[in-house]
């Protein structure tokens, strides 16, 4: 079975500061990272890859997407598709679904699409649900931790967190599963694989939106940005000290005020 993993790459939160007073975002360094939950999705896919399934990674955007894909190849993905377009860095959920749909066609179909359930860029968390709806596929989202493919047939068993434990959700392929962050521990790439992938110019397959046959209107954003508003500056808290009773009294006064 072909398993597609979507890697969404965004600016590393440590590389910029949101300055509420100046109402500006200051970017200090050009550093990017793959959404942590997407790496958990990749690990869930690679576990299936170890059992003989074909794991393919896809990422959309500029050079940072290619870096994420090389890392995925080094970790064990069999194929990586980079939809190269700097203009798609700020893509939202609508066009991203359109791109992924075309990538699925491009790779000859997929039985399972995995991605993270949470993404720092909140709008992109919709991608899994929207993709499943657009494809008419089954969708498992809630706290998915791992996926098993039944040896016979096309049934999938998804382990889902529930309360203090887990339960299993069964569905059939094709399906989209959104894996929750920290569902597993992503593996580290062996050093030899890193070198091999970085020395192989063909390790990451590059396609453009034109190659995928996507018209400009298919890439139109769902949301139009009209402006930016920043939350007010944080007010420092008040330190209370004294005996326990005094502290409790002061706390009550502050809460009532």
């Amino acid at each position: 079975m072909n398993i597609l993993v979507l890697l969404r790459v965004g600016r590393d939160p440590a590389s910029f500061t949101v300055n509420r007073k100046a109402e500006r975002i200051f970017v200090h360094r050009d550093e990017w990272r793959t959404a942590p939950a997407d790496l958990n999705a990749l690990e869930a896919a690679l576990v299936l890859g170890d059992a003989g399934h074909m794991v393919m990674a896809v990422a959309i955007g500029g050079a940072e997407a290619a870096v994420a894909l090389r890392a995925a190849r080094a970790m064990g993905a069999a194929r990586a598709v980079w939809v190269q377009d700097d203009a798609l860095r700020d893509i939202d959920a609508g066009p991203m679904v359109a791109v992924v749909q075309r990538v699925i066609e491009h790779i000859g179909g997929a039985g399972l699409v995995l991605m993270g359930a949470e993404v720092p860029h909140a709008d992109l968390a919709q991608v899994a649900a929207r993709l499943a709806a657009a494809q008419g596929w089954a969708f498992v989202e809630e706290d998915a931790h791992a996926v098993q493919v039944e040896p016979a047939g096309t049934a999938l068993t998804v382990t889902v967190a529930a309360g203090q434990g887990f339960h299993s959700v069964q569905t059939n392929e094709p399906a989209v599963v959104a894996v929750v962050e920290d569902a597993n521990k992503p593996r580290y790439a062996p050093a030899a694989n890193i070198v091999r992938v970085y020395n192989d110019p063909g390790a990451v397959e590059r396609v453009s939106t034109t190659d995928l046959g996507l018209a400009e209107e298919a890439l139109a954003r769902l949301v139009t940005r009209r402006g930016e508003r920043y939350p007010p500056e944080r007010v420092f808290g008040q330190v209370v000290d004294g005996s326990t009773e005094e502290v409790a009294r002061q706390l009550l006064r502050a809460l009532r005020a």
Partner: protein, 374 residues
């Protein structure tokens, strides 16, 4: 990816490794499985094929996170396995390198003796040919990885009439050979998690097939190995200096004095600027030299500079960071105090900085036609 491993797996354990003086064996095995122990070597021997540049990246990241672990791997790759890789016969490489690259065996490099430190040519450990084997008698001191090594590259005198230059030979000695014994780990100021000990050779019989390189040319093999080792040592010190700068940058934003963050104080800014400038100079030197190594260019002078500038830069940067942190800098609860203790040895081992100055000056003058005799 390497940084993630070091940050997530090594750094959280570094304090405990320093406190107990014990490594986590499972962690070393894991690093072996990931190929850390064979980073620079050809993939046909089980290495990663990342060359000197890749090896320098590894050492930089390891030393940022845990200098003790970096020292174990540095001695294992940079001098032990490297001497085998540089001058070993194909049979020796096939026999030992795959296990060394996978971390299934640990290597050490035996040069220093009671009467031979900076004067490496003064070694006295004797190897006598007896039928099909050499018999080794003597002692090596201050051997990194000594207590945990499975394989030791040892320099011994085979012809006393020729001295070390022409009369010394390098041997691959398996630690389970009768007569070989490692001493108790030394109690050191820093690098508590990196075991160092003496090695005792009491009629240790080493087959002729385990001669590394040519008989009588062992000193050349060892000096060549040390030249390359100095580049990666420079990279390791770069990691230590970077970590000190990062810690300082975090602290100056958080620490307030006289009603404002100490980042706003010029005296602190000057220290940060000096650290960053020296670190960038070191980075440029280290990676240019690694490039020279990978591209077969002469690098001996630059390698000496890497070790000299690196060790002194790291010591200065960590010392400044400690000053910026004030009393917290000397607290055992924080990493800086450990970093300060761990950094000092880099000015001493793998050729003291005084030796590096001699090497650099010798190369400089040699380029201008002046031959300096040792």
């Amino acid at each position: 990816m390497l940084r993630e491993f070091c940050e997530q797996e090594l750094k959280p354990r570094a304090k405990e490794v320093d406190r107990t003086g014990r490594q986590v064996p499972a962690l070393l095995r894991w690093m072996g499985e990931l190929g850390f122990f064979g980073i620079p070597f050809d993939q046909k021997y089980g290495g990663a094929g990342a060359g000197e540049v890749g090896y320098c990246i590894l050492m930089q990241e390891l030393n940022r996170a845990c200098p003790s672990t970096a020292t174990i791997i540095g001695a294992h790759i940079g001098i032990a396995a490297m001497s085998l890789y540089l001058d070993g016969s194909e049979a020796l490489k096939q026999k030992y390198l795959p296990d060394l690259c996978a971390g299934r065996t640990i290597g050490a490099f035996g040069l220093t003796e009671p009467n031979a430190g900076s004067d490496a040519a003064g070694i006295q450990l004797r190897a006598t040919l007896e039928a099909d084997a050499y018999c080794l008698n003597g002692q090596k001191l201050w051997i990194t990885n000594g207590p945990i090594a499975d394989v030791v590259m040892v320099l011994a005198v085979t012809d006393p009439s020729l001295g070390a230059r022409g009369g010394a030979t390098c041997f691959v000695v398996e630690a389970n050979t009768p007569g070989f014994a490692a001493g108790q780990p030394e109690r050191k100021m820093g690098l508590h998690g990196s075991p160092t000990s003496l090695l005792n050779f009491d009629a240790v019989r080493v087959p002729k097939a385990n001669v590394l390189g040519e008989v009588g040319l062992g000193f050349v093999t060892f000096m060549k190995t040390l030249d390359i080792g100095r580049v990666s040592l420079g990279a390791a010190t770069l990691g230590g200096a970077e970590e000190a700068l990062e810690a300082s940058l975090r602290w100056v934003k958080a620490r307030s004095q006289f009603g404002r963050a100490i980042a706003h104080m010029q005296s602190v800014q000057f220290m940060l600027a000096d650290m960053a400038t020296e670190i960038e100079a070191l980075r440029a030197l280290v990676y240019r030299t690694a490039w020279l190594v990978d591209n077969g260019q002469p690098f001996v002078k630059e390698a000496g500079m890497c070790k000299l500038l690196g060790s002194e830069t790291a010591s200065r940067c960590i010392d400044r960071a400690l000053q910026i942190h004030g009393a917290l800098g000397i607290s055992r609860e924080f990493a800086l105090e450990r970093g300060w203790r761990d950094a000092r040895i880099a000015e001493i081992f793998e050729g003291t900085n005084e030796i590096q100055r001699i090497v650099i000056a010798g190369e400089l003058l040699h380029e201008r036609g002046v031959r300096i005799r040792p």
